[in-house]
């Protein structure tokens, strides 16, 4: 019985790890840390002299360790001033918290601000339930020029910033340096192209180790596509007007899936299903030598491998040498939205907190403790970040990858209201191809047609 309990504990803690685009498979580990709102200090604000601090409720999706860091930031903010009291509430995964928000909309039970994943942006804008961040920025000429261009690029729609980026990540190739050495490969020269990855996987597959495994996660496919400069949707990825057609059946994506499938068929790459948690565990256990994962997992992966093997990181592979200059990665992660059904005073208070979160010092702390990038370039001047980069040089890969990504419609990322559903459909298509139920072209064409249908349905129910 005791052993059984121990096993459960391991599973639960491992689940709480949290990954970039996906958040963790949320178990309720992160306590909301409700802060008592009864601190009756004398109010110093000039317009409102109520004496009580303004209460801001923040729904977030950061579980496990990430949730602890969030609670720490909130506590620091609350202690730094006495006008605003923020209460952070963990609401499950990104999907779950967004669904809760949908149910709460218009009922007056929603939060003041919410953290929503990047692919929920179109929905948030169309919902008409938010106050665009641009209003707050314009009102006090807040300077956003220090924010990373690529991050701003993702979250700018129709030349406006609707939300404030908070946690951003991108996917990188993780590899086991010791396994590379043992197989006679150069651990300082990781594979860069699809062919090199396939060859390395073949060489690495021996003695109970398989070359690698990528989780069947739509985000990876989106990133591998953008990395070739290809667009997922028409109308410049939905950035020049609403997209109404998905382009999954194009050669860039089909080739990528064929490459992936061939490695699985050859037995040099394992199919471990959709959970990044499972590939992460297999990687940490030394059962696979390469994997794709978010930068947000870097801390956890390096820690899990400590004492066992050295973790190497490399940029996301590209199809051929010739593609080297093309495309780049799309910013993943989440941003903060202010809801318009709360009193003006409360929205202003939320804005104050958001400004605090965007400060270089806060971002530095966030970056170092989680693996998400700082959203502001100034954070790299903080000593904390510099020291961390010395200790974990692996962080540099993702930062370089971000800075090397040229800002185009492809790397700004696709925009559609049904993105979460489109991901499910893409993942089904990848499964079909990898398990041989359908050829990559067939599977992707079918998914593309279904996504197109859903986008059109969505567009017809959203009043223009």
């Amino acid at each position: 019985m005791f052993a059984c309990l121990c096993m459960l504990m391991v599973v639960l803690t491992a689940c709480g790890g949290g990954t970039g685009g996906q958040s963790a498979s949320g178990n309720g580990t992160a306590d909301a840390a409700p802060t008592a709102a009864a601190a009756g200090t004398e109010g110093s604000s000039d317009t409102q002299t109520s004496g009580e601090p303004v209460k801001v409720v923040w729904w977030h999706a950061m579980s496990g360790e990430l949730g602890t860091v969030v609670d720490g930031l909130v506590k620091q903010f609350n202690e730094s001033q006495d006008e605003v009291e923020v209460e952070a509430v963990f609401q499950g995964t990104y999907d779950e918290s967004l669904n809760k928000l949908k149910t709460a909309m218009g009922s007056g039970t929603g939060p003041t601000m919410i953290q929503t994943y990047e692919i929920g942006s179109r929905f948030m804008i169309d919902s008409g339930a938010i106050t665009p961040m641009q209003q707050f920025i314009d009102a006090e000429s807040y300077d956003v020029s220090n924010l990373e261009e690529n991050i701003l690029g993702y979250y700018t729609f129709d030349d406006r910033l609707y939300s404030m980026p908070f946690n951003t990540s991108n996917p990188i190739l993780y590899y086991n340096k010791d396994a590379f050495k043992a197989a006679g490969l150069d651990p300082e020269n990781p594979p860069k192209t699809y062919e090199e990855v396939a060859e390395a996987a073949k060489t690495l597959t021996k003695d109970g180790m398989t070359g690698g495994s990528f989780a069947i996660y739509g985000w990876f496919m989106e990133q591998l596509t953008a990395n070739q400069g290809a667009e997922l949707l028409n109308h410049s990825n939905g950035r020049d007007g609403m997209a109404d057609e998905a382009l999954l059946g194009q050669p860039a994506i089909v080739n990528t899936l064929e490459w992936w499938k061939k490695m699985v068929d050859d037995g040099v790459m394992l199919n471990l299903g959709r959970k990044t948690d499972d590939t992460k565990k297999a990687f940490a256990a030394g059962q696979i030598a390469m994997t794709l994962d978010s930068t947000a997992s870097l801390r956890g992966i390096v820690k899990a491998a400590e004492g066992k093997f050295e973790v190497g990181t490399a940029p996301l592979p590209k199809p051929t040498e010739a593609d080297a200059g093309k495309g780049g990665v799309v910013v993943g992660g989440a941003s903060l939205w202010i809801l318009n059904d709360r009193p003006e005073e409360e929205q202003q208070a939320a804005w104050k907190f958001i400004k605090y979160l965007a400060e270089p010092a806060t971002q530095a702390q966030w970056h170092v403790n989680t693996g998400y990038f700082p959203i502001t370039k100034e954070a790299y001047n903080e000593d904390l970040v510099k020291e961390n980069l010395e200790k974990y040089p692996q962080f540099q890969t993702a930062i370089d990858q971000l800075h090397n990504s040229e800002l185009t419609p492809a790397t700004k990322g696709a925009v559609m209201g049904v993105f979460p559903e489109a991901r499910q459909l893409t993942e089904t298509a990848i499964e079909e191809a990898l398990t041989g139920t359908a050829s990559p072209q067939e599977a992707l064409d079918r998914a593309s047609a279904e996504i197109t249908q859903k986008i059109q349905d969505y567009n017809s129910t959203v009043a223009q």
Partner: protein, 331 residues
């Protein structure tokens, strides 16, 4: 078992009928004269009292059963916007789309397979365990406890436990298979295996409850019958087939009806272990409609599926009563 359940069902409508009868009696007595006024007043009081007694039940049914039912009929005829609010009236388009898209027929097939994989196996195992545990041998209590144990495990806990067992690279099952020199099985990531794995786990979950139910049914069989069978020279196998099975058949029938309905409504283990994947191979009806309605906020199509599911369960249950109940032997 059967009787008790029918009784509880009947308690609700009985006073209702009585109430309407009383009301009729009251109106007729009013025309006949004043002499019976006090009597009719008494009857009216009785009817009012009855109405008060069933009011809480009616209210609860109304809020949690009838209102949602009407609401899902309403929603099934509309399309909803991304916030889940009703956008347009679409008539029967939701139902038409259901049967024209590949997803829904696939879910029907998966559900059917799931029922075939879980219900007979659960019943057979529970029946076998109960038959063995019926005898009064010393230490049998321990076995009873063990076989009934899964009932104490919730679906989510059970799913997490099996997640550990099924884990593709670090799973306990693959570890033992490896020890025996058998290649690891992709329990949940192989589309040909996933439904089987989920069924395996479900059978294990079901056994606890069914075992208790069937054991209870067997223990209510009078001991004298067994004694006389023994005197007549009937062996244990024969006694089981000719005696135990017919006498426990009412319980078995009840268990099969509830198991089929339960299998139709399986959700927790699928949500936790596979989320309907891989390649929709475990996408049973309830999970699909949950995903459509509560993940993708298409309440229209979700409600349409809920109604179709309701109709299917109703038809199958009626069929079970009409066809299978003939074989049931009530004492």
């Amino acid at each position: 078992m059967e009787n008790r359940i029918e009784n509880t069902d009947e308690t609700a409508p009985v006073p209702l009928q009585k109430g309407t009868l009383d009301a009729n009696a009251e109106s007729s007595s009013r025309t006949s004269g004043n002499s019976s006024r006090t009597a009719s007043l008494g009857r009216f009081r009785e009817a009012a009292l009855a109405a008060i007694f069933i009011a809480p039940a009616l209210l609860l049914f109304g809020i949690f059963l009838f209102y949602p039912l009407i609401q899902s009929v309403y929603l099934s005829l509309h399309s909803t916007n991304p916030r889940g609010q009703v956008a347009n009236f679409v008539g029967l388009a939701n139902f038409r789309n259901l049967f024209n898209s590949p997803g829904f027929p696939n879910s029907l097939m998966v559900t059917l397979k799931f029922i075939l994989l879980t219900v007979p196996a659960s019943l057979a195992f529970a029946l076998a365990f109960a038959a063995v545990c019926r005898s009064r041998i010393r230490g049998m209590k321990i076995f009873r406890f063990v076989f009934a144990l899964p009932i104490a495990v919730s679906v989510s806990t059970g799913s997490i436990m099996w997640m550990v067992l099924f884990h593709p690279t670090l799973g306990t099952l693959n570890y033992f298979l490896g020890k025996m020199g058998i290649a690891p099985v992709q329990w949940l990531t192989d589309p040909n295996m996933a439904l089987l794995s989920i069924s395996l786990m479900t059978v294990w979950m079901n056994i606890g409850f069914l075992f208790i139910l069937l054991l209870g049914g067997m223990q209510s069989i009078p001991e004298e019958i067994y004694e006389s069978a023994k005197i007549d020279g009937s062996g244990p196998v024969r006694t089981f087939w000719r005696l135990t099975l017919p006498l426990v058949s009412p319980t078995l029938f009840f268990a099969s009806v509830t198991s089929v309905i339960g299998a139709f409504q399986a959700f927790g283990q699928i949500n936790i272990l596979t989320k309907g994947g891989p390649v929709n191979s475990t996408n049973v009806l309830v999970f699909k409609l949950y995903e459509d309605a509560f993940v993708n906020f298409r309440f229209g199509i979700g409600s349409a599926q809920a109604l179709v599911l309701f109709a299917i369960v109703l038809v199958i249950t009626v069929l079970q009563f009409v066809v299978a109940e003939r074989k049931v032997h009530y004492q």
